[in-house]
Symmetry: C2
Amino acid sequence: MQNLLKKHEVGVFALGGLGEVGKNMYCVEYQNEIIIIDAGIMFPDDHLLGIDYVIPDYTYLKQNEHKIKALFITHGHEDHIGGIPWLLREIKIPKIYASGIAVGLIKNKMQEHRGVHYNLLEFFENDRIRFKHLKVGFFRTNHSIPDSYGIVVSTPQGKIVHTSDFTFDFTPTGPDADYAKMARLGNEGVKLLLSDSTNAEIETFTKSETTISENIRDIFSRIKGRAVVATFASNIHRVQQIVEASIATDRKIAVFGRSMERTIEVGTEMGYIKAPHGTFVSAKALKYFKPHEITILSTGSQGEPFAALSRIANRTHKQIKIQPGDTVIFSSSPIPGNQPSINKTINQLFRQGANVITHSPLTDTHTSGHAGSEELKLMLKLIKPCFFMPVHGEHRMLKKHAETALSTGVKKGNEFVLDNGDVLAISNNKARIAGNVEASSVFIDGKGIGDIGNIVLKDRKILSEDGLLSAIVTIDEEKNRTIGKSVIVSRGFVYMKDHTALTKEISHMVDQHVDNLLKKENKLHIHSLKKEIIRILNRYIYNKTERNPMILPVIVTV
Amino acid sequence: MQNLLKKHEVGVFALGGLGEVGKNMYCVEYQNEIIIIDAGIMFPDDHLLGIDYVIPDYTYLKQNEHKIKALFITHGHEDHIGGIPWLLREIKIPKIYASGIAVGLIKNKMQEHRGVHYNLLEFFENDRIRFKHLKVGFFRTNHSIPDSYGIVVSTPQGKIVHTSDFTFDFTPTGPDADYAKMARLGNEGVKLLLSDSTNAEIETFTKSETTISENIRDIFSRIKGRAVVATFASNIHRVQQIVEASIATDRKIAVFGRSMERTIEVGTEMGYIKAPHGTFVSAKALKYFKPHEITILSTGSQGEPFAALSRIANRTHKQIKIQPGDTVIFSSSPIPGNQPSINKTINQLFRQGANVITHSPLTDTHTSGHAGSEELKLMLKLIKPCFFMPVHGEHRMLKKHAETALSTGVKKGNEFVLDNGDVLAISNNKARIAGNVEASSVFIDGKGIGDIGNIVLKDRKILSEDGLLSAIVTIDEEKNRTIGKSVIVSRGFVYMKDHTALTKEISHMVDQHVDNLLKKENKLHIHSLKKEIIRILNRYIYNKTERNPMILPVIVTV
């Protein structure tokens, strides 16, 4: 960065969150100080076969470890806190600041990563955290988890405001957003605004959580059987609304799914989930209640194959079977790409006689945690930034958000649609793209961090489509010829027991070909033998089957 | 079936199309006659790794080949005609009847399956095809391809009407639907109606193709650069509308993508695509025209990785690069599950400076080819069936459609939501589920029909997530011990060049373990040796990496 920034410039950059929804991580750097905002993970899409999570490349932070003053957490969602243990394994962070339920969720998470040291401090909304040059403050926002905050970094070049994820909910189920503080920031002058672009393409004002809560209560009072509700465990407001609706309609609640159990546990402990003693019952106790006295609260609103609702739907859940009269309510909306899995779950539920209610304009069982374009305009009008950098979204969302900003008065040329790693340098009244730092994606698979690269992923892709065929040839090095017959094994190609003729043909062909090659040459070139086996098998198998399994030749010399 | 149906009963069943959108195939059987309606394929979902198509199991038809009188094709879409070559490879069908563009598309398709004999006859809307007991007639409908027909099978037990895919488009871009014939059928009395359930859950009346066509023309006249339009090649009406919009705004058209080229070719040949000479230009000729004189018509509206638009978006298309001022119009809507791929394409197009217009209530660049619930009610009111069997849809769509039928006057208990293979037996004024015939899914992968089963798919799934590790152990049978070091190879697991230590450890462990086992036993049990290798490697690798690659042990004996 020394090369990129001039001494008086403030650098702002993202290591994750630009051009994607997930792994949020934004940094502010001035001279010898770096402030990090959030450390999220991203859940991989279908192309990343077998990958568990994606995190940012922390190389730049590693190289500048001595500058890092603190990590600030805006709220407790995985795309904002999930990267903390991975970050801490590589880099010493002197202080992590978080607030309210995020503190509980981080502590809970760190229990799974014993041995990783962390120094977690709680901030409150009117705190000011001071470093040598930089100063950090907070303002309360509305979002789908309690204790969500926007962050203000005061720098020698002016204030930088980061909204993080937000909506404007005028009838929230928790405390109000701090409109006054946002307006005051705007009046005092804000140099740069970073704002949530997730719903920048959606024209409507996001509906209030309270509306959804009323709809759910209404549905609960009308249904005569068991209410089975699937929602995001991360949406703690929603979970509490479902709990309240159950209490209001005299239903006991049984909770299924590990993440939902954790939400109830942490939420109850910290006072966010409130219910009279005896509201929650175990699966075993359900038999003591009539159907209309029961709420089943579960994970699986995205049709995730191993989530509680999916197991209930496909009859593999040990404790819960669908019974006629059950109503399943999806208090969620499909994340792009999940629709087929959700459809499958719904079809299975219908087949077993359940009634299914999904979110639609008619039922309104879900609302987003992100601001639509009208709310984004309100934020822009309150903060009135000089420069604008849309964050938290795919490229087209960022682009749309930048257009929205221009329409509210940000000057043309003062909007910056950036990629991860791009460094925006701010000085006095100028902003420029100063260059970029390393900010690619790092894949986590099992215990491995970053050891799965493109070669392995490409192999998995081929394996997934046409499987693999391996030919093991044994060669007598002295006599310079094959011994016995080559062994042919395959997986994911064709079911070999049904294709003994094909296997024999392949084995015979490989042996002949290898022997011919050995006769021609005096010396054994294992590498070229392997290449030859791949070449002839590729052609032969494609002609026979129109498939391209991965060919894995193995030469054993004795 | 002899066991299932009484002599006077008419059997109606689906081999595909119930509980799914795709591979439509409906059969009517009476005594020694079977009439087949449509022979479609289904495109596999993401779970069917590497599978090209899915077709119905034709076993029942094979067993009753002598009864089959004819195959009737309702229209030329792949989910109705795509199975024809596969069906004909197994079963002799005396006559295939199709109409209009479906005839051209079937002929075109059969060129890729040389050697498969077929007898294709064209029907016209007022034809009646008579067999000994059964009689077949047609009525014109509206759908997203010209020459779409509903089918009437007159049986000794009354008329069976199959709508096939339809909308009611009161301002169609082709001929009107034959309302009068449908109403007459209803008045004369219809025993059973089979009707399209694709959009049964959608409350609105499907918009007219003419509206979309006007919107596209409007967009074309407003944009100043090149118009790049992506749509379904199968929607020949739409393609013609885009051609007309181009002519009206003085644009030449360059066509990209094989299926789109085929649509233009077959459509032009048969008179469905009409354009003055010189309207279509080659990619090379584009340089002679100004941007506002150019339309690029391409495949790829679903973000398919190798389609023309995707290659244009990711800069791998040889002839077309996005240039500033281009407007890309998606005249399509996302098929569930494709949204992430489409988003990726859109993001890439935006990054290269294109403007992108997708279908939304504001832009209205697409309409469905399937009836919404209000249109379904109109069909039910016209046909007034005694019995009702929703077809062409996932289970929940069928269920919704059955409810809709009850609301229009079908008697409770006369609606039949069936699964593929279920046989509905109709007699006089009774209908009963008589049992079922084999109707599972058959997978096509390359040249193989049905040779990919669940074992292979399960292997592909494991391979795709954690890859494979193979240990090749060479054993000297005489001395009853290993020779040399075992060879460890892997693919899709970890990149082995970075893990030589791990490879050595595994090899060493395997050799030691095998030698110990060999010492204990006098005789070589290859099967139990393999099982042991799998067991110890599974445990060892999981502990080291938290991954579960497929373990493939190979024992070479010399």
